[in-house]
């Protein structure tokens, strides 16, 4: 299971109609930190050149932001893609909750942006 401990933002409204997309790809610079025996999950770090901030993301969170670099998606699309990618490890309900918690967080970081469809 994933560690959801860092993701504590409550979602106040529905984002079903919103389309999410990554900040312009040129603004995001990715790297992976070597995993050790103690870290079962690789950690990705991303530098957002517009804000100058550096963020650490767990594997699935990084995967979602990277996925949004390729194409804009709705929350439901993201959930489906996540289940498709990590299907063996996570149920659809868990994926949905994960995405619901993650999106406001990465929005606030400036890594993704959103527009109402």
């Amino acid at each position: 299971m994933w560690d959801h401990g860092r993701i504590i933002v409550e979602v106040s409204g529905s984002h079903r109609a919103d389309v999410y997309y990554a900040a312009v790809p040129a603004k995001l610079h990715w790297a992976q930190l070597n995993s050790t025996e103690a870290t079962d999950c690789p950690v990705e770090v991303v530098f957002h050149s517009q804000s100058g901030q550096t963020h650490l993301l767990d594997g699935p969170s990084a995967w979602i932001v990277r996925r949004l670099e390729n194409s804009p998606l709705t929350r439901l699309d993201i959930t489906s893609a996540l289940v498709h990618e990590y299907g063996a490890e996570i149920s659809t309900d868990d994926a949905s909750r994960f995405v619901e918690h993650l999106l406001p967080l990465v929005l606030r970081m400036g890594l993704i942006e959103t527009v109402r469809r």
Partner: protein
């Protein structure tokens, strides 16, 4: 020519004149001051450093002066002027603390303006090809450990500023004096008879402060860069036994960024440099209370060096 080859009168004359040019690692620094106390302190701490020629390009110019005017005559105060600071915003200090402020000014001048390097608030040492970067906040025992290692045969690259070359990740030495505070002054004085320390001075912010002269061998190797192999976060924990644990790379990365004086100025280059550093090093955390205990630990990590020592 080394600074130690000049007599005190000549050093004071250069200090109060055009400035004294000293080579420290990759930088040529010009020091100017009218405070005799500083000239004597610099003569003691930087005795092994080469003097640069007057015609050489100067990377850092720093002047430490006395406040003028009637007020300054009654209440003498010094101020330090690194590049980018002006007289109006300079902090005033008692002249007896001039050496400490000069060291601070040099640190500031390097981390604020030198963008060829990711500058880390760290101690850096090397032995037998093992390059240590020691991270820790003020009061965490970083300089005490650094002094103990430097006085035990490790090559000192820096006590305060780790210079990570952005082009290749190598660490450049500075080999400047080590700043020690409060109990650590006595700890190091008792630890080694080789320790050359300035007279401790009482400061308002940090308590007692003294400087340890860098080992001559470290100064002589100030142009020899080093490949980092281990990143250590250190914490002094009074009364506790030595604890050494592997450090999660993400935790090490966060410590590294917190220690990066100019990380945010460097942008993408700083990011890639930090990632490369973390991925190329073993990361450990150390809690210690007894200096000999932690020094033994590092001695055991370098078996070849220990064997060489016991054979001589």
């Amino acid at each position: 020519m080394r600074l130690g080859d000049l007599d005190r009168a000549e050093i004071r004359s250069r200090f109060s004149g055009d400035g004294l040019l000293i080579q420290t690692g990759p930088f040529v620094i010009r020091l100017k001051s009218s405070l005799e106390d500083i000239a004597d302190g610099v003569a003691q701490l930087y005795a092994d450093f080469p003097i640069a020629d007057q015609g050489q390009f100067v990377d850092v110019t720093l002047s430490v002066n006395l406040q003028r005017g009637l007020w300054g005559w009654f209440f003498p105060r010094g101020y330090v002027l690194p590049r980018g600071r002006d007289r109006a915003t300079s902090e005033l200090f008692p002249p007896r603390l001039g050496l400490s402020y000069l060291e601070w000014g040099l640190n500031y001048s390097i981390y604020a303006w030198c963008m060829r390097y990711l500058v880390l608030h760290s101690a850096v040492l090397e032995r037998e090809g093992h390059g240590l970067i020691i991270l820790g906040d003020s009061g965490d025992g970083k300089s005490t450990l650094c002094s103990g290692l430097a006085l035990s045969g490790w090559r000192l690259l820096s006590d305060e500023l780790g210079l990570v070359d952005l082009s290749d990740g190598q660490l450049s030495p500075l080999a400047r004096p080590i700043s020690l505070k409060n109990e650590s002054i006595e700890t190091i004085r008792n630890f080694s008879t080789d320790a050359v320390l300035t007279e401790p001075r009482l400061t308002r912010r940090k308590g007692l402060l003294a400087h340890l002269k860098p080992p001559t061998e470290s100064v002589e190797l100030m142009h020899q860069r080093m490949t980092p192999t281990t990143i250590v976060t250190v914490k002094y924990a009074a009364g506790e036994p030595l604890q050494v644990e592997p450090l999660d790379p993400s935790a090490a990365f966060q410590s590294l960024l917190r220690s990066g004086f100019n990380y945010f100025k460097l942008g993408e280059a700083g990011f890639h440099s930090a990632v490369r550093l973390i991925n190329s090093c073993e990361c450990i955390s150390i809690r210690y209370s007894q200096l000999p205990e932690v020094l033994d630990y590092f001695q055991e990590r370098i078996p070849q060096a220990s064997a060489c020592e016991s054979g001589t």
